[in-house]
Subunit: 295 residues, 2 copies
């Protein structure tokens, strides 16, 4: 890819910081401007060498940037894109790292208006247990998948630029429609998070919760690990992807009802058939081995 | 504890083998007889030094044993206890390692009859990813919890003997009624297993299952790890603990319905409240760190 003169990273946390580090290591950018509403985080990012210059104004950062990378919580996307639009140059490209896409595309349309062709919606499937710029690492995206959801309004050149940046970071890029993205992630990410929160929520609502947890072991530990995730983030994702998530909840509850019925009528062979199918699929899944990747 | 002359281990797999190794290391037993319907596994256990002598007859093994340790799948418990009863000496004690207890107590009553006072139902909360005697290790139970469920019919001396054996293996022993045990484990173990099987089962039932799994990441991986468990074992546990499990499924589905309603009506503060409670409880849970323990 051609070396970019300047990138603006809005939201210098784990994802924004890791993108900056990866782009710099790839030699894909000369200067990185960091933007964050948290001035301390911003200074920390600068002192770690993650970014070169700092500002608290997204419009100021966007002015002169070849690429604006927006890595803020989904709920902050509207105001941030509004500010970005104020400073954005005519050839600049904007992309994001939000976990949901149809709502971001909607918001981007409202805020960027006639500049929407320069916006390439994106979702890097990567993360770590810890957050913040101190957790940022240059190889966070190495081998990770990144989904881009350009549509008919998106400039092919803008999509190509964002794709080449992610590839420079070591990621594997896939394109799909925003609604397809949201259905996929409702199924394999948003639903499991909601289910894990619900299990712990049910247990802690009981008077004997401490006794129950005292006997919980490794299966419970792994099943509920994601219930230790940020409530703000998962609340926002659940609401941003409401329709697809509701559909997934209903499909899932229907399947649990099938299992319940098999247990209730003592159907050993029916239970074994479904459990064996699931076991075989889970064992065959290449992602089944432990790694540091996360969503 | 007094050193036992002879222990019979019926079912020389991960649990039976590890119990034999732990008791031997503790110097708590002189001679260990192994019983298994799988002659190869039996020879393997003898060649590894896990057991001293072998037989395929549980009644032969029980004759002369101070303690009979039954570590077979729950569905095999009836025939095994039937054979054990045929050989059991007047002062011998029998215990088991089944994951459910009320059904084992019922089966033991039918098979041991007037000898039921010598039976101490037990459940060690320990395991590993791998199974079989090759996976057996002397420290499997070190720091692990073991639940014993003696009732009014159980000889206090028999319970004391079994407790001292587990303590010699390094375990922490708790006593509770069998029905309480089954409720606790329906909640923190049997339900999560069924839910994980159900999630993978729902996904593999779709034509685009491979695409969905291609985007699944770390959250999905940990949530569904237990869906790679033995379908036979979890089918049997689900059916053996049917009533408690059905009650847990219903409680859980009611809680998921609460989350669904909050998502459907866009209740951000309601969602955040429940998710925060769950997150805090999960983070405060001392078992939350990774270890090799499992159920």
């Amino acid at each position: 890819m051609r070396r970019l003169k300047s990138i603006a990273v809005v939201g210098v946390g784990l994802i924004g910081g890791s993108f900056a580090l990866a782009m710099r290591r790839a030699g894909a950018v000369t200067r990185i401007v960091g933007v964050d509403r948290d001035a301390q985080a911003l200074e920390r990012a600068a002192s770690l060498g993650v970014i070169d210059t700092v500002t608290q104004s997204a419009s100021e950062a966007a002015a002169g940037a070849d690429l604006v990378f927006v890595a803020v919580p989904v709920r902050a996307m509207g105001p941030v894109l509004h500010d970005v639009a104020l400073g954005l140059g005519p050839d600049a490209v904007v992309t994001d790292a939000g976990s949901t896409k149809a709502d971001v595309v909607r918001t981007a349309g409202e805020e960027l208006r006639e500049r929407i062709a320069r916006f390439v919606p994106g979702h890097p499937i990567a993360g770590r247990e810890s957050s913040g710029v101190d957790a940022a690492v240059a190889d966070l995206f190495r081998g990770a998948r990144v989904v881009l959801t350009p549509d008919a309004a998106t400039s092919p050149g803008a999509t190509a630029l964002v794709r080449s940046c992610w590839e420079a970071c070591g990621a594997r890029v896939t394109e799909m429609p925003a609604t397809a993205h949201d259905r996929v992630f409702a199924s394999v990410s948003h639903l499991p998070h909601l289910l894990a929160f619900a299990l712990v929520s049910e247990i802690v609502s009981r008077p004997d919760a401490a006794d129950l947890l005292g006997f919980a072991a490794g299966g419970f530990r792994d099943f509920t690990r994601i219930a230790a995730s940020s409530p703000e983030m998962w609340r926002d994702i659940a609401l941003a992807n409401r329709e697809a998530l509701l559909e997934e909840i209903d499909r899932y509850c229907a399947r649990v009802a099938v299992f319940r019925e098999l247990v209730a009528r003592g159907d050993a062979s029916g239970l074994q058939r479904l459990m064996t199918e699931a076991r075989n699929a889970r064992r065959a899944w290449p992602g089944g081995k432990r790694s540091s990747s996360d969503e």
